[in-house]
């Protein structure tokens, strides 16, 4: 099974420590969520996994090979969609296939499948500026999946969306995670979001960023097994978990 490992990673910016000896482990069927207060280095760690940031100490490996540059085995989705406005939605999704020299008819077919998967079957010919924020983020997810990555790296993918769209996108993310068989490493500010999505939550604390707690909620597995998302959120166990996670995040912070 694919395996993404960040082992005792330290990151410095301009000589100042941003992250100190943080270890994170993502197996091929994990949905790992990084949470923590601002400045705890969540995004920096994600960027190490992406190959966009080089740590000063520690090793990042995928399937045992060191990570030194970005690669399509670890597709990234950013908070701001980073789509290409000169391409249609379909062409955006097909981008990774085009880079690989796959023929136009074949990549259009694959792109349409992926658009259908993110419930945008009719939007293939639309321009990016004609899409809403939620639709853009779906196109961004479909584009990342087109690369057939072993891991999806999501940097606050729902951060720019309104609350209702966010809620709906949570189940979309879970469906994609199940359908794509890719491991997920995601950064978020949303406590409830983390609980709904994660098979493992890694809590980081700032100054410098380090791992303080790990939770292993089972809510996303329950959703995958067929339970309704509303029922899960109404479960008293969910409220308890939310309280524990909130305490862990704000632990050590002066009141």
């Amino acid at each position: 099974m694919p395996h993404l490992v960040l082992d005792r990673i330290s990151i410095h910016y301009d000589g100042h420590p941003a992250v100190e000896r943080a270890s994170i482990d993502v197996a091929g069927d994990d949905f790992v969520v990084l949470v923590g207060r601002s400045g705890c280095g969540k995004t920096s760690l994600l960027n190490v996994a992406a190959g966009l940031v080089t740590p000063v100490r520690g090793t990042a490996t995928i399937n045992g090979r060191p990570i030194s540059a970005p690669g399509s085995d670890r597709a990234v989705v950013f908070q701001n969609d980073a789509l290409f406005p000169w391409l249609t939605a379909r062409e955006n999704v097909a981008f990774a296939l085009r880079l690989r020299g796959i023929r136009p008819a074949e990549r259009a077919r694959r792109a349409d499948e992926l658009l259908a998967l993110v419930k945008l079957a009719d939007a293939g010919d639309k321009h990016i500026w004609e899409l809403s924020g939620g639709m853009r983020q779906r196109v961004g997810l479909a584009r990342a999946l087109a690369a057939e990555p072993q891991f999806l790296l999501l940097d606050e993918p729902l951060g720019a969306l309104d609350a209702l769209t966010r809620e709906r996108m949570q189940t979309t993310l879970l469906d994609l995670w199940t359908a794509s068989h890719a491991g997920v490493l995601m950064v978020t500010h949303g406590i409830e979001e983390a609980l709904v999505l994660a098979t493992r939550i890694v809590v980081l604390a700032p100054g410098p960023g380090r791992v303080v707690r790990t939770f292993e909620p089972d809510f996303s597995r329950r959703y995958a097994a067929g339970e309704a998302i509303r029922a899960i959120k109404a479960d008293p166990a969910f409220a308890t978990a939310r309280g524990e996670l909130t305490d862990a995040i704000f632990e050590g912070e002066a009141a």
Binding site: A50, G51, L52, A69, P70, G71, S72, R74, A75, V76, V77, F78, N80, A82, F84, P85, W86, F95, A96, R98, L99, R100, H127, I128, W129, E130, G140, R143, A144, A146, A147, L153
Partner: protein, 286 residues
């Protein structure tokens, strides 16, 4: 310039109804009595009337200031019979040919140079000082040197215009390249793009609006350099036509030539704005 861009923007865009223009953002020409476009039209009419009147009253000798009607008649005559062995169309084609040949040369050199400045420290180190040196020099200053080196043939004229165009093309390309969003580049790299693919598929299209702006500025600069380039041993061209007419004190041809140059500059500007809108419909909508 500002008036032009205002009227141009307010006009066609709202007529197309591009889905972005909401009623309250639309400058409505009907609601108020006076629009900028009307004021501009009145201004032009007043200038024309003042010109006609001073010619009519013979405030200035007709040798120096022919009437608008005389200039118009000359325009018709030069279209049919020509001036100094070429019709107006032939003069215009000769001039446009030089400007477009120079534009092609400026694009072929300027866009790669701009890419080099925008994407690599080495490129910036090499080309930045050269361009900054070249940019402020008026074309008339390097014209003699170009003649000494390359003679008085057609290549010299094209070269002078191309040099005037090079800096705007290269610098606009470079600034477009530098403003490409890092997230977009990172997204492409994480989808498996090589460095060359990032340039081809992300940086170039992202910089396209800026490159087109550079071309528009370059066309303006090149067109103004035209007269200077055609001062030198040309036998055709609008600048040459004006220059010869001035030597024989044929003032109506001089004024007519100036107006034709202005009209063509206006058409070029308008056309390239059209092209910009067709090629980069996403500009300003992200």
């Amino acid at each position: 310039m500002t008036i032009f861009s205002y009227t141009e923007r307010a006009g066609p865009r709202t007529e197309e109804g591009d889905g972005l223009s909401v009623p309250w953002s639309r400058p409505s020409p009907k609601r108020k009595g006076v629009s900028a476009r009307m004021i501009s039209a009145v201004t032009i009419l007043v200038v024309l009337a003042a010109w006609a009147l001073s010619a009519r009253l013979q405030l200035v000798s007709p040798v120096f200031l022919p009437s608008p009607v005389a200039v118009w008649n000359k325009f018709i005559v030069v279209i049919g019979d020509g001036f100094v062995d070429a019709t107006l169309l032939q003069h215009t084609v000769a001039s446009l040919g030089r400007v477009f040949a120079a534009l092609v040369a400026a694009i072929l050199v300027g866009v790669p140079v701009g890419l080099a400045i925008g994407t690599s420290t080495v490129g910036r180190g090499i080309f930045d000082p050269l361009l900054e040196f070249l940019r402020p020099i008026p074309p008339l200053a390097y014209l003699p040197l170009v003649i000494i080196w390359f003679g008085i043939g057609e290549p010299s004229k094209i070269l002078v215009i191309a040099i005037a165009m090079l800096a705007p093309v290269a610098l606009s390309t470079a600034s477009g390249v530098r403003s490409v969003s890092q997230e977009r580049i990172n997204a492409a790299r994480s989808l498996g793009a090589t460095r060359a693919q990032v340039v081809r598929h992300v940086i170039l299209p992202s910089a396209l609006p800026s490159i087109l702006t550079g071309l528009r500025i370059a066309l303006g600069a090149g067109w103004s350099t035209l007269v200077a380039a055609e001062l030198v041993a040309a036998t055709r061209g609008l600048g040459f036509m004006i220059q010869s007419a001035a030597q024989f004190l044929v003032t109506d041809v001089v004024i007519m030539g100036i107006l034709v140059i202005a009209a063509i500059a206006f058409v070029l500007e308008f056309t390239i704005r059209r092209i910009e809108r067709a090629l980069v419909p996403w500009a300003g909508r992200e």
